[in-house]
């Protein structure tokens, strides 16, 4: 090939490169996105932004992520915690920089993330996906030390194993007490799935035992489906006490193993206290959480309503009708990544619909679900009218088994999309 014809080929390639590369900002420094938190929201957002040509640094102090969905089956004894654990090797291989550090604060004016080590990290856009933190100041008697005796198990990991081993060690004829907070909290149907699976464990292994679920609410997600299943499967074992019946936990005593409600004191052999929650602490430090402890966001871009160029996704966000779930975080992360990539190019993101699906396992081969479609409307993420809902009441056992199988299939797929 002569030098002239080679030049011709190259200049042709250069023209093609220019026409395709325009949205990718090639030839300039790549825009920098920093993501805080490597859960279902943050890790998804990192991958999608990276694929859209944005340089991504993911700040996540833990080398291993422990997933909450399906962790109630670890408590049930039918699943290993190892099946819940995921690393970040696949993200690293794609060119995402993983910074194994804790973020301590954010300087919004200088656009810098301050790390616990004292180092700083510049960003063009910041995505916070910090999940939740327990409010250890909210329930008298329940602090971080108390959680070692009365586990919350609302972040999967060591807490999950504490609750599991306590249930295993409990005598037949013991009393398990669960305390459930008022809304909002991570995974609205989660406490009722857990109650179902603990009841199944007791029925199978310790049939003289009892589970009392003390609730700070009168209504909950998939309520009719759960209650019909409880009547059918766990009569005499599972007792749900609504707010109106005095179900709200007022105080706990670790020393006496007592859970105190308005009218009663419940002596427990095992106590699972799910305390009130708030957005992960970095959200407060960054100034994106409001007085409620959660983060108001724009429903199209997930940009914070309190701080520019910061976006909040997942459980920490006030996402209107969308629940705090792994599915929702994943769905939000993809829309947020698209928006951030467009904003970095000076373009305006279009409004997008989002989905949620939450499966709950009530017993082996017995699954139920809630699913919904959302759209930005009147400044929030609202339900799309006429869509969504829960599994059919009174469906056949074949349908319940299929939903249980779909639940497992969903977990495999989403885990692979996020971490695999």
């Amino acid at each position: 090939m002569s030098s002239a014809s080679r030049r011709g080929v190259l200049s042709g390639a250069a023209t093609l490169a220019f026409s395709l590369a325009a949205p990718c900002v090639i030839g300039q420094a790549r825009p920098q996105a920093v993501i805080i938190g490597g859960g279902f929201g943050g890790a998804t957002c990192a991958r999608y932004l990276n694929r859209l040509g944005v340089a991504v640094t993911l700040v996540e102090p833990n080398a291993t992520y422990v997933a909450c969905p399906f962790s109630n089956l670890v408590i049930h004894g039918s699943r290993d915690l190892a099946a819940q654990q995921f690393g970040y090797e696949a993200l690293k291989r794609e060119g995402i920089v993983i910074l194994p550090e804790m973020a301590a604060g954010v300087d919004a004016d200088a656009r810098l993330v301050r790390l616990a080590s004292g180092a700083t990290l510049p960003y063009d856009r910041l995505v916070l996906s910090p999940g939740i933190d327990m409010r250890f100041d909210a329930l008298p008697g329940y602090d971080e030390a108390a959680a070692q005796i009365m586990p919350h198990a609302w972040k999967a990991g060591p807490q999950t194993l504490i609750l599991r081993s306590q249930l295993e060690a409990m005598r037949d004829g013991g009393v398990v007490v669960m305390s459930v907070p008022t809304n909002p909290y991570r995974c609205p149907p989660g406490p009722y799935e857990r109650a179902s699976l603990i009841a199944h464990y007791l029925k199978t292994h310790k049939p003289k035992s009892k589970l009392i679920v003390l609730d700070a609410k009168d209504a909950f997600s998939k309520q009719k489906l759960f209650q019909m299943a409880w009547e059918e499967l766990y009569p005499g074992i599972l007792e749900w006490v609504a707010l109106g019946a005095g179900g709200k936990t007022m105080e706990v005593s670790v020393k006496d193993m007592v859970v105190v409600t308005e009218f009663d004191r419940h002596k427990a052999d095992v106590a699972n206290i799910i305390p009130p929650q708030q957005a992960g602490r970095i959200a407060v430090a960054a100034g994106v959480a409001d007085k409620s402890g959660w983060c108001p966001i724009d429903p199209v871009t997930f940009e914070s309503k309190l701080r520019p160029r910061m976006h909040v996704i997942g459980d920490a966000a006030i996402a209107g009708a969308m629940p705090k779930s792994a599915f929702a975080a994943n769905s939000q992360a993809k829309v947020c990544a698209s928006s951030v990539a467009l904003l970095l190019r000076g373009e305006t993101p279009a409004s997008s619909k989002l989905l949620n699906t939450c499966y709950s396992i009530v017993a082996p081969a017995y699954g139920i679900s809630v699913a919904d479609v959302y759209h930005p409307a009147r400044g929030i993420l609202a339900d799309v009218e006429g869509a969504g809902g829960v599994s059919t009441l009174g469906a056949s056992s074949e349908v319940r088994a299929r939903e249980a199988a779909y639940a497992e299939s969903w977990f495999k797929t989403i885990a692979s999309e996020v971490f695999g």
Binding site: R7, L10, S11, A13, A14, L16, A17, F18, L20, A21, P23, C24, I26, G27, Y48, N50, R51, L52, G53, F327, N330, S331, K334, V335, S338, L342, A350, S351, S352, K353, L354, L355, T357, S369, A371, D372, V373, H375, V384, G386, A387, G388, G389, S391, V399, R402, E403, A405, Y406, E408, S409, W410, K412, T413, I414, S416, E417
Partner: protein
């Protein structure tokens, strides 16, 4: 020549990302949360044509095709949105 070669490299690099892909239509990015590789209990959408996906969504919406869950989700999208999602999914190299 060096600059041209650098541009070609930059071009090749850009192809590694999803830069050249058209942006996803409203709602389309959520599908891959459940619909993954072939072989799972939840069917893969990989290899389906836009017409097949549109038709399936219509049948879920009307109730003509029985479902555990897709009947509830299909109702959240009008025909234009459904068709756009179907076309985008079908155009993905490794459709979710």
């Amino acid at each position: 020549m060096t600059r041209a070669r650098a541009t070609v490299l930059a071009f090749l690099f850009s192809m590694g990302s999803a830069c050249a892909q058209s942006p996803a239509p409203s709602g389309a990015l959520s599908c891959s949360g459940c619909h993954g590789a072939a072989g799972g209990e939840i069917p893969s959408l990989s290899g389906l044509s836009a017409d097949e996906i549109t038709e399936a969504m219509g049948a879920f919406k009307s109730g003509a095709r029985p479902a555990t869950l897709m009947n509830r989700l299909a109702k959240g999208f009008n025909e234009t949105e459904t068709r756009a999602i179907a076309q985008w999914l079908a155009s993905q190299r490794s459709a979710p």
